[in-house]
Amino acid sequence: MRCGRSLRIVTDHDALRDQLASYAESKLDGFVEIDALAPLQGGASRELWAFDAVLANGRLPLVLRRDPPGSDDPAGREREYQVLRAAHRAGVAVAEPFWFALLGGAAGIVMRRLEGEAIARRILRDERYEGARTRLVEQVARAAATTHAISLDELELFEQPSGPPAEAAIGQLEGELDRIGEPHPALELGLRWLRRNLPQPRPQKLVHGDLRLGNLLVDEAGLVGVLDWELAHAGDPVEDLGWLCIRSWRFGADALPAAGCGTRDELLAAYAAASGTEVSRDELRFWEVLGNARWGVICMAQADIHLSGSRRSLEHAAIGRRTCEPEWDLLAMIADPVGA
């Protein structure tokens, strides 16, 4: 088995290098060759490859983010590419996107390779990131504010939003619970609380959709880039702030809700300074409870991928048993039935 697997990787590797070379040849002046192509770890849902484009006058460090074989979603990758371009143009800290490419039949995005640390526990614990930790909340708030200021009209592949995003999100989670068919009274109680505590709808914005520690590339100076834009959508901007705060993304730094580095008040103050938009603690609470409900449903859905036999995977199976973590967290937040 090991032998077969290695062989497949070698074949993929050589074929991919040839495909990347023919792509780069047509796109880059003075292109010489593709060098140092190697798979990277880190993308749970997408393949990641690092490589250099060697040019006549230097090297361009690049990364390819590609759909894995069998779960190809070219429309999704193209939308992600468009969002990345808009974010880069707007000045959000992101990897500069170069091409949307079809490589070996799978859709992918080629972007500049940024150097930094993405492993949350290292960012939160290593001494070298001590200074970064003091700046991260402000930097992430600014990245969120800049993202939320991007005009949705720029993104022609986006579905036009219809109806208040909060109610749509609750309905979507209820639908997902019904589809999976495993009863979860605690998640239902969270969703019921959300229905009884709907916030005033805000104008819809471009929302990152997965803004959290784990999707932030960080170096000693702080935020280098916001990663993984595949869940970007039109929605309520506070969704990003609530998701950032849920306990699962604090990676053990439980007393500091904002990405394990700061308080909720610090996050809201930084967001207000960067965006001019005041967000109340009640509103943040709503989206944090929704974030917990969503994470619980995602855990169930991941396990269901394994249990339904569509993709057998230990990792997917194991995550089902994490559902009770966000259940515990949301129950702690909804003791008062109405009002925060």
Binding site: Q41, E174, L177, P183, H184, P185, A186, E188, L189, L191, R192, R196, R247, D254, A255, L256, P257, T263, R264, D265, E266, R281, R285, E288, V289, L314, E315, A317, A318, R321, R322, C324, E325, E327, W328, D329, L331, A332, M333, I334, A335, P337, A340
Partner: protein, 143 residues
């Protein structure tokens, strides 16, 4: 009844092997999955060790919400637990009924009781899935 080691003892041994012996020796791209495997074995070990008592305890907690009249205060809770355990299908049906009653708003006026019982039931799940997680309880009001 099987001979020893019991199921939880076998799984504890498996978890220890995966964690202490195998993880340091596997190639780096498999290390994370080996840790996940060790954690899975540890979860299953704790579940076997907790045994039917934990399932019965959850059933009793939920039946206080779905069927409050059924619980006879004069009777030993243990006897109820044994009765509840006899029918696992009923246990599942009970969860289904509770979930849909909550969604329909039937617990809006018994909110505090629903939160309290579900917190206990969730703490029992965490004791198997992630011991210690319930030592932190963040009501979202600080910081």
């Amino acid at each position: 009844m099987q001979d020893r080691p019991e199921a939880h003892e076998l799984l504890e041994a498996l978890a220890a092997f995966l964690l202490a012996d195998l993880t340091p020796r596997v190639p780096s791209e498999l290390r994370f999955q080996t840790l996940v495997a060790a954690n899975c074995a540890a979860i299953a070990a704790r579940e076997f060790k907790a045994g039917d008592d934990a399932v019965a305890h959850e059933a009793l907690l939920l039946s206080e919400l779905t069927d409050p009249g059924r619980f006879d205060a004069g009777r030993d809770p243990k006897a109820w637990e044994i009765e509840l355990l006899r029918d696992r299908d009923e246990l599942h049906a009970q969860r289904v009924a509770l979930a849909s009653a909550i969604r329909a708003g039937e617990f809006d006026d018994r909110w505090g009781q629903a939160v309290a019982s579900l917190r206990q039931a969730t703490a029992a799940k965490l004791a198997v899935a992630h011991p210690g997680y319930d030592e932190v309880s963040d009501d979202g009001r600080d910081g």
